[in-house]
Amino acid sequence: MKQAPLPLPDCRAGAGAGVEIMLTAKYKTGLVFFPAFDWAISPTHPEREERLLYTQDQVIEEGLFDIEGITEFKPDLVTPQDIERVHFCVPDVWGVTTESHLISAGGAKTIGMAVLEEKIEKGFALVRPPGHHAMRMVHGARGFCNINIEAIMIEFLRAEYGIDRVAIVDTDCHHGDGTQDIYWHDPDTLFISIHQDGRTLYPGSGFINETGGPNASGTTVNIPLPPMTSEEGFIHAIKHMVLPILDEFEPDIVINSAGQDNHYTDPITHMNFSAQGYAELTNLLRADIAVLEGGYSIEGALPYVNVGIILAMAGLDYSRVREPRYDPDRIRQTPDITAYIEKLGKKVLEFWGQREKIKSQLRGTKEFVERTRNIFYDTDNIIEKQKETIRVCDDCAGAIRMDSSADRGAHILGLHVPIKACRKCKEVARQWYESGRKDAFDMVFLQDRTEDKYERSER
């Protein structure tokens, strides 16, 4: 039975304590937590069921979901259209995804919607599997990734909420080559990747001179840090490279691809970053949305890194978050590394400053610019040969033609019409599509972002 209404107890501690204790987030923060406890690439693969188990334990034990202003959301699922907006999936969406990918990308989408609908100010999609190695053309899985969950979220937000300028800051230890590929030609998406130098780690790319295609030169920024870089080096990169570039780019929204494999205990990388460092980085970056990427020190790093990131996003004190036996002196970077990174910073800003010059060099007098690449899908062991053609254009991001064949046999043509395509580029892509259908391709895809329409014809 109901009881007579009574006043709620005093919000403070017992009389006399006088300490204001209720924890309230400074920024309303939303979380999607989807550990996919029943999904793995294989039983002993780093990307397996247990990966977020201890993170869940830590987040629950710390009571983060109970903090005023922190809300947990249930992930939505992405639709095939959400995926086709970004990828050419061979043979189709179902062929390269499992339910867990739809949920993982869906979790990012949920957070994106909540931020744009102003239900929350900051959001973090703590989901798996990750996505930043997935490129526009998808024949299978690369670097544990099948579909690019950040790009799917961003293109959904562009389609549904009309956002324009987006910045992605990828702080995973591996170069975000998938995201770089997808936004290589997009001048409205600034992609900045901070990672362990490609000469020492998968996927072996992300060098400082990779700055974007002929229509989008400069809006790809790579910051390859030497192995053993510690807190100091990362914070330097944020303060003296990322933040100045972000300031100049003036994005509508900032996304952090929040990989956690720079941690000093990560088994597959060689960096010396920490939970404190990640929290400080998050605090400086002030991203609107963070999406979990890699991070495979599942016991010793992820629980603490994630608590640090969540507290920092919410604007709460993270100064006491640390790993067991954390000793900043033991992981401190050498003066050589510090000097190297300072020099690197100057070069990065130089490239950024010369982006118009680089652009005209790339273009020359050409109407079309081509590049040919071999792409290796390490997770699924596929080799793809790709020839990409972009129409040089001053009026839009340019029509893209991708001729791709995988060693598994499929010969694909993929055509992309950018969201703000000019009439000419749209026409060019249409012509490519029509003539491609008569040629010897197994499949021809058309991604028309202007009409949010995605066609696919099979021979």
């Binding site: 039975m1 109901k2 009881q3 007579a4 209404p5 009574l6 006043p7 709620l8 107890p9 005093d10 919000c11 501690a13 017992g14 009389a15 304590a17 300490v19 204790i21 209720m22 924890l23 999607v32 937590f33 989807f34 550990p35 996919a36 406890f37 029943d38 999904w39 039983p43 002993t44 397996r48 069921e49 247990e50 188990l53 201890y54 869940q56 334990d57 830590q58 629950i60 034990e61 710390e62 009571g63 109970d66 959301f73 249930k74 992930p75 699922l77 499992t98 339910e99 867990s100 949920i103 016991e299 603490y304 608590v307 507290l311 709460l316 004190d317 006491r320 978050v321 640390r322 067991p324």
Partner: protein, 562 residues
């Protein structure tokens, strides 16, 4: 025979149930300043002329501990809290005598940093100087490894009275809630113990030595003896009593809303196949978010006595109550007065109702009858909207596996059960507006007392195993065992059931109503460098909230109006 007693804000309801159904029901006024007298009067009246030997149990749902907490009238206790790294435990301060100390255990229950004996002793000295008797001890991750709590306990146990340790109070994770829950248990302990001992004594003096059980917020019961160690479990049992009173009449195999419509508020709960939906983490009482298991209920400020006002051209109902309906001498119009105007009221002053509703009608520029209809509709619509929101919220509860997300059960109630004073008046309109079947719980005005009487003993057991560390443990049950690498999820479940059975019997249940189920069973391979090093297993089992075995017969009789 069984007695059920439920203390409400204005009335205390008492029911006596026997094989023949409801034997007797009474209501006595609640005296909030003297609950002891209220309860004793209720118990005496209900047993008048009944031979004490015929009564084998009395289940009491009281507001004793809830009120003491809400009014801040609990005695001071000490809290010693060992947090380690993470959020500053100062943010979780529950009371003045609260001492964070060092020590840290990690998520797998391994010690990271030991407790500092000097710090603990200093805190103890201060607490003693302050005249503190009872103490709560809480460590982060103590439900994985209670070692630090036990060490602190042993360092200071000779200096204090009753001590509560976090790991004994719940097997669940959540450090801030563990602190709040341990504090609440410690601080209501003496109030709870003294009160029920006095009740017992007085009953014995009157020749009524009946085993006393206490209703909990999860709709289950515990014996008075076991409640001494978990007095916090008795908070906010009121809504649970009503829900349990409705269960016997809920349809099998479908979802059902329970609306307890009172004078000031309406409590909403949900049943899935006659089992109430529980709060995932635990109940909240004011600022205290706890690990106390409870039914999920939503209380809204709308009921039969809600104040009606007109603002602009808009009708506002509640959330405040000025007094009873005008028909019963109250000062201002209420939904109950609307019933009188519509010719549904009995034994009241319809003329006063009409007068009150007429003033509302004038402001809305309509006839009193039209205004009364509008009031009734809006009241029902508000209640239904809240019920819908609660259903949506349950359906949007996050899940953590692909399987659950795909197969996740979506609650879709097709039936509403109403109880509480004004329930029958609302029933038909609720049915018309919602399109659901609406049933009035038989004996709706004492269904809560009947629910208390028929509730079964509930409890939960959490067990985890880590085959790399070669342990299986359930700190809450004081269980820890060496296991080998073949220990599996199946074995863990079996062990957990064993512990649960033991716990039910210890807390006053019988083997007749052991409706046990697994609520969580996870097993992970732990891998280091591409090699499996062990298994991490987590199992949770519970006795579902429900009614004791003789219920169906009683329900049939209640339905038949006996």
């Amino acid at each position: 025979m069984i007695i059920g007693l439920d203390v409400g804000g204005t009335h205390t309801d008492v029911a006596l149930l026997g094989d023949e159904g409801l034997v007797r029901e009474i209501k006595v006024p609640t005296d909030p300043s003297d609950l002891f007298h209220t309860i004793l009067t209720g118990l005496e009246k209900i047993t008048e002329g009944i031979s004490p030997g015929e009564i084998h149990r009395a289940v009491l749902s009281t507001t004793l501990t809830t009120n003491a907490i809400v009014q801040g009238k609990t005695p001071p206790v000490g809290m010693i809290v060992s947090g380690g790294p993470g959020i500053d435990p100062e943010h979780f301060r529950t009371n003045e005598h609260y001492f964070p100390v060092s020590g840290s255990i990690d998520h797998r229950g391994r010690e990271v940093e030991p407790v500092d004996a000097d710090e603990v002793r200093n805190a103890a000295v201060t607490l003693q100087k302050q005249g503190i008797r009872n103490v709560g001890i809480v460590g982060k991750f103590s439900s994985r490894n209670p070692d630090h709590e036990l060490k602190i306990h042993d360092m200071i146990s000779t200096s204090f009275g009753k001590m509560f340790m976090g790991h004994q109070i719940s097997g669940n994770l959540n450090f801030p809630r563990r602190i709040a829950t341990t504090y609440l248990n410690a601080t209501v302990h003496s109030i709870h113990k003294n009160f029920f001992e006095a009740v017992k004594r007085s009953l014995e003096e009157k020749g009524l030595s009946v085993p006393i059980h206490i209703l909990k917020a999860d709709g289950g019961t515990m014996s008075f003896d076991s409640s001494i160690d978990f007095p916090g479990q008795s908070i906010l049992s009121g809504p649970a009593a009503s829900v349990m009173g409705a269960i016997a009449f809920a349809p099998d195999g479908e979802d059902c809303l329970v609306l307890d419509i009172g004078g000031t508020t309406t409590d909403i709960a949900l049943l899935i196949n006659r089992v109430p939906v529980l709060e995932p983490m635990g109940i909240r009482l004011g600022k205290y978010k706890t690990l106390i298991r409870s039914l999920k209920t939503r209380s809204i400020g709308i009921g039969g006595d809600s104040l009606i006002r007109v603002k602009g051209r808009e009708l506002e109902i509640g959330p405040d109550r000025m007094g009873p309906a005008m028909a019963y001498g109250g000062p201002s119009p209420t939904p109950t007065d609307a019933f009188f105007v519509l010719g549904k009221g009995k034994e009241g002053d319809k003329a006063r109702s009409l007068q009150g509703i007429a003033s509302v009608a004038a402001a809305l520029d309509m006839t009193p009858e039209a205004a009364a209809t509008k009031i009734l509709d809006q009241t029902c619509q508000n209640i239904l909207a809240e019920a819908q929101e609660m259903t949506d919220r349950i359906n949007s509860k996050p899940v953590y596996t692909v399987h659950e997300l795909q197969e996740g059960y979506q609650v879709r109630p097709k039936t509403i059960l109403v109880l509480g004073g004004p329930a029958p008046h609302f029933a038909r309109r609720l049915e018309e507006l919602s399109g659901m079947r609406v049933g009035v719980v038989p004996r709706w005005h004492v269904a809560n007392a009947i629910g208390a009487a028929l509730a079964r003993t509930t409890c939960e057991v959490t067990l985890f195993a880590d085959t790399q560390q070669e342990i299986a443990a359930s700190p809450e049950e004081n269980f820890r065992e060496m296991v080998d690498r073949h220990f599996s999820k199946e074995k863990a479940v079996k062990k957990a059931y064993e512990l649960l059975r033991k716990k039910v019997l210890q807390t006053g249940g019988s083997t007749d109503d052991l409706d046990m189920e697994i609520t969580e069973a996870l097993e992970f391979n732990m891998v280091q460098g591409f090699h499996t090093t062990g298994r991490n297993i987590r199992v949770k089992v519970q006795v579902k909230p429900g009614l004791i075995y003789e219920t169906d017969a009683v329900a049939e009789k209640l339905l038949a109006g006996i």
